[in-house]
Symmetry: none
Subunit: 219 residues, 4 copies
Amino acid sequence: MSGFQKPSPLRPRKKPRQPRSAETVASILEAAAQVLEAAGFEGFNTNAVARRAGVSIGSLYQYFPNKEALTIALIRRETERFQTDAVQALEEASGAAAMSHFIAAAVRHQLRRPVLARLLDIEESRPEFRRELSGLQAYEQLLVTILRRDDLPAQARPEVAARDIVAMMRGIIDAAGERGERDLNDLSRRVRAAVFGYLAGTASRNVSAGEPAPECEQV
Amino acid sequence: MSGFQKPSPLRPRKKPRQPRSAETVASILEAAAQVLEAAGFEGFNTNAVARRAGVSIGSLYQYFPNKEALTIALIRRETERFQTDAVQALEEASGAAAMSHFIAAAVRHQLRRPVLARLLDIEESRPEFRRELSGLQAYEQLLVTILRRDDLPAQARPEVAARDIVAMMRGIIDAAGERGERDLNDLSRRVRAAVFGYLAGTASRNVSAGEPAPECEQV
Amino acid sequence: MSGFQKPSPLRPRKKPRQPRSAETVASILEAAAQVLEAAGFEGFNTNAVARRAGVSIGSLYQYFPNKEALTIALIRRETERFQTDAVQALEEASGAAAMSHFIAAAVRHQLRRPVLARLLDIEESRPEFRRELSGLQAYEQLLVTILRRDDLPAQARPEVAARDIVAMMRGIIDAAGERGERDLNDLSRRVRAAVFGYLAGTASRNVSAGEPAPECEQV
Amino acid sequence: MSGFQKPSPLRPRKKPRQPRSAETVASILEAAAQVLEAAGFEGFNTNAVARRAGVSIGSLYQYFPNKEALTIALIRRETERFQTDAVQALEEASGAAAMSHFIAAAVRHQLRRPVLARLLDIEESRPEFRRELSGLQAYEQLLVTILRRDDLPAQARPEVAARDIVAMMRGIIDAAGERGERDLNDLSRRVRAAVFGYLAGTASRNVSAGEPAPECEQV
DNA sequence: TATGAATGAGTGTTCATTCAT
DNA sequence: TATGAATGAACACTCATTCAT
């Protein structure tokens, strides 16, 4: 907002080395998460975060050069939690199993803190953040890898498919979380339907004598 | 303080009676759209809108009692454009054709002004607005109607399906618009794949001897 | 408030000659009174007055060059009502009776529209208005006349006494009106006690062998 | 929006802990007093107060959550000065002496800063403030206590008398201050005349063979 | 290194007043 | 003469950020 934040980079100001610093950083991040959950974008301000973290506003700025850096660090924290879970999808025997693993991880992640996840999804898409976070879309790469497995319908443009899948998963899961859904299994099943349906519908060749969903290209 | 002056705080303040007013209102709304597109949430403030509309800030507040009312009016304007297009889906002969019509309308709408559409989708979900806009989610009802057509895979919970479909459509289309995609046909095809795939995967009974997408329930 | 109101005099812009104008002026004044009563200083604005009067804001400014002129006209209207009543005090046979008449008139006036009377008393004291209204304090002159009657305790400084009496009457009556008192007789009795007590206590010579209130000068 | 941030909206926002803060608060309050004196209600705005206090507008809002809270704090500051003086009236040997002490304190208080005192008296009566300040009307209770002393004319309704006395004292003193009177003794004498006269005139029984003011009930 | 007081540009909103129709 | 749309200065208040202690 207020003008003169040009020279400040978006990464945490100092790598915390001492355990006390690490704790402080962690408590600030968790406070940021809680403020965002409780008060939304409107109430998400650095003073509120510092207060809830039990540190002074000065300390907050010791660890984060500005508000954006704080937000980005929070996005990073949440994304990493998801990714360590999602990466294990690669261990699955089949592509379908891997994809299901990925979906389940996403659903679990989103329903753990639905409000937070939804708001961070929105923040994440802000142009100022895209640049800084570009490296983070590792999960799209992960999805591309999964999509190349033999047992899944082959995709002519796996990157496009990966992005579509991420987008539709987010759409469904965010909306479900917003409505207060908590049934992981039910939600996962619907997401699988969408994802596998999409894959079948956009396949460049058939898989294992399976039938394409014949409705997709009519009209 | 006063007492007798609180009508409904989120609706437009005065019906413009003179043609001059109608123009002013229209120019304010269009300015709001442009400011949102050009400057995002950050830059979306009433002074900027008035300036771009070429009217004084006082004029803006003569027609919109506050910023929220302006945002809502803008959402209404955009939603209505989409809905008049989408409703015609009901004229289609088959359910599949109707659904495809709906999808095409959504894609067309979103790609017409992708940034605006995306930002309004986000605004729309803010709790303060949900209430006021609840009537607007008419398209979910429209979708439910379409989903009951015979030729589409029957859904045990059509409302859930409708919401999921809206959510995943939005997800895919918003993300595509964000990346700058402009190919309506390609995007529509992928959305159809997702939607019809989802329907097949969540169907409660088979349609016309068709096979379900067998991948969905494994794992 | 907003700057450029220098050249505007405080008297009504035009003497209404046609009956329609007179009606309009009257309706504006009554609307002003009602808005002030209902919404206090906070809600007392020219647009609200015009709306309640059922005329356009432009018409209001046709008859009153600015807000102050409107307020002053309202004060005048109310003061005149009181004065035509109060002047009749001079007809009373004795000074005491005249004073009692004056007091009763003041109480009646104030309790007729207590909120309005109180707020106008406050407005009246604003420096911008003092000048314009100086002529209006006719009732102080009236009081001086009454105070010179033989049967009342003679005052060395009748003008000072007159002002004190007006001030204390207002104080008591306004406060009573504010608390919702409606009993004219009770209130009049207390005001008489205060006024006649004051006169006795400040008398420069005794009246008709009466005793001074002995408490006044001790301590 | 947010939820967890509405303490009590009219009390000072933070207790100043550092001495620096205490100074700031004091300077803001004194600036508020001076702005009110110099510019009246019209010119009494938070920016002007901050400017005169030599602090930023942000600092003002760090200590006072809104303009009303500032006004209330100012009223409190002034009232307390008066009350510590007035309470000592209870030490006086006789009721009459106590009452005279009370009157003298009020006159002293009001003439110390007449304009300020007058404007604050008006503010004090605004409905929004009555609630918050209700505790402050301690001096009415004080007056009731004094009125019960043996040597004063007994009052059937001491609370009513107390309120009337406060109101008439204010009326006389405010008006005197407004006219620029500075002679404490002269003014006190007149106020005493009014108050003791009132008491004599409303007495429910005679005091120590004294005579009632016989003028009161004639007419 | 931590604190929290201080800063001030910026934002939403009001309302007295003007003037084209 | 009446209307009401338009104006814009002014005001209450917020919040990211700095810096003396």
